[in-house]
């Protein structure tokens, strides 16, 4: 299925969870915050938050800023 990941289309196996997505991308969940369709996903729930086709995911982190 295809989801929208940080503004771009991204192919991922059906029934994947947010945690599966982070694992595919090699991202530690402790270093990011994830938003699924504008709802923040608690870090404890990445393993149970299932993705559906067309879902919009934002994966963000802190960067340098003033």
């Amino acid at each position: 299925m295809t989801i929208i990941l940080n503004g771009k289309q991204f192919g991922i196996p059906d029934n994947s969870t947010i945690q599966n997505l982070l694992d595919i991308k090699g991202i530690e969940k402790a270093q990011v915050v994830v938003e699924l369709n504008r709802t923040i996903i608690d870090r404890g729930k990445t393993g149970t938050a299932e993705l559906k086709p067309g879902d919009e995911i934002e994966v963000l982190h802190f960067v340098g800023g003033g």
């Binding site: 940080n6 991202i27 003033g66």
Partner: protein, 256 residues
């Protein structure tokens, strides 16, 4: 006498807040923050580059610092609130610098949207530090909205122009019963010292340090300037006079 700043119940001993952006090499940051003596360090929130995840900026912020995420990138109240909530979900505290900008030339903040965002986020128990164009009525509304401090700009972001809004900031210092932190525009230690001399509670710097040839040395220079300006304020500067007043006895040397 111990001198410290209190923001939302937190004792802040360093009146120099530092940013974490624009360094040629982020690995210099721990030394910069140490030289500045800062307790409060700002960060921004952005999408992870999923093809090339870079360094985690937090590894360059020494333990025990207060992290002050900003809402840079927000163009209105709703976006600022969204970024603030995301930033808090990073699990690094509930401080937030509200920055709402929809002017791309001067990057001047939208005070009206900032007030609305402050009101909502204060209700959600954020410690809210709004970045504003210095304006008394805006600052008064921010007090009512639950801001923890008010952060007027000295000049547009990243310009190093100095305290172009000095007179307006002075009005805030005299009228607003919240910490006043000059954010943006300060480019030289003398600017920071001047701000502190007039009674500003703290200054926030990013570009001034990061864009210098030697950021660690510049951070130390700013630390000294902020401390000097603060001491001068506490000491109470002497009166200014247009006519000379002799510092030595007015009697002539070896004569009456």
């Amino acid at each position: 006498m111990e001198d410290y700043l209190i923001i939302a119940g937190h004792k802040i001993h360093s009146r120099l807040f530092t940013g974490s952006g624009k360094y040629r090499d982020d690995s210099i940051m721990p030394a910069v923050i140490e030289a500045a003596g800062s307790q409060v360090v700002t960060v921004a929130l952005r999408r992870v580059d999923l093809d090339k995840p870079g360094d985690n900026i937090l590894k360059y912020v020494p333990e025990g610092k207060i992290l002050l995420p900003n809402t840079s990138g927000a163009r209105n109240t709703e976006e600022a609130i969204r970024i603030a909530r995301l930033a808090r979900s990073m699990g690094c505290g509930n401080w937030i610098k509200i920055e709402v900008i929809n002017d791309q030339k001067y990057l001047l903040p939208d005070n009206e949207e900032t007030i609305k965002a402050t009101r909502q986020l204060a209700k959600e128990n954020f410690i809210v530090l709004p970045y504003i164009c210095p304006d008394l009525s805006t600052a008064r509304k921010l007090v009512d909205a639950g801001a923890a401090a008010v952060m007027p700009l000295g000049a547009p972001i990243g310009t190093n122009l100095g305290l172009k809004t000095l007179e307006l900031i002075q009005i805030l210092v005299s009228e607003i019963d919240l910490p006043i932190i000059v954010d943006a525009g300060i480019g030289r230690p003398s600017h920071a010292a001047h701000a502190m001399e007039i009674g500003v509670d703290a200054v926030l710097l990013s570009t001034a340090i990061a864009s210098s040839d030697d950021p660690v040395k510049m951070a130390h220079a700013f630390r000294l300037a902020v401390e000097a300006g603060r001491d001068a304020y506490l000491a109470g500067p002497g009166p200014v006079s247009q006519k000379a007043k002799a510092s030595s006895p007015l009697t002539g040397f070896l004569r009456e």
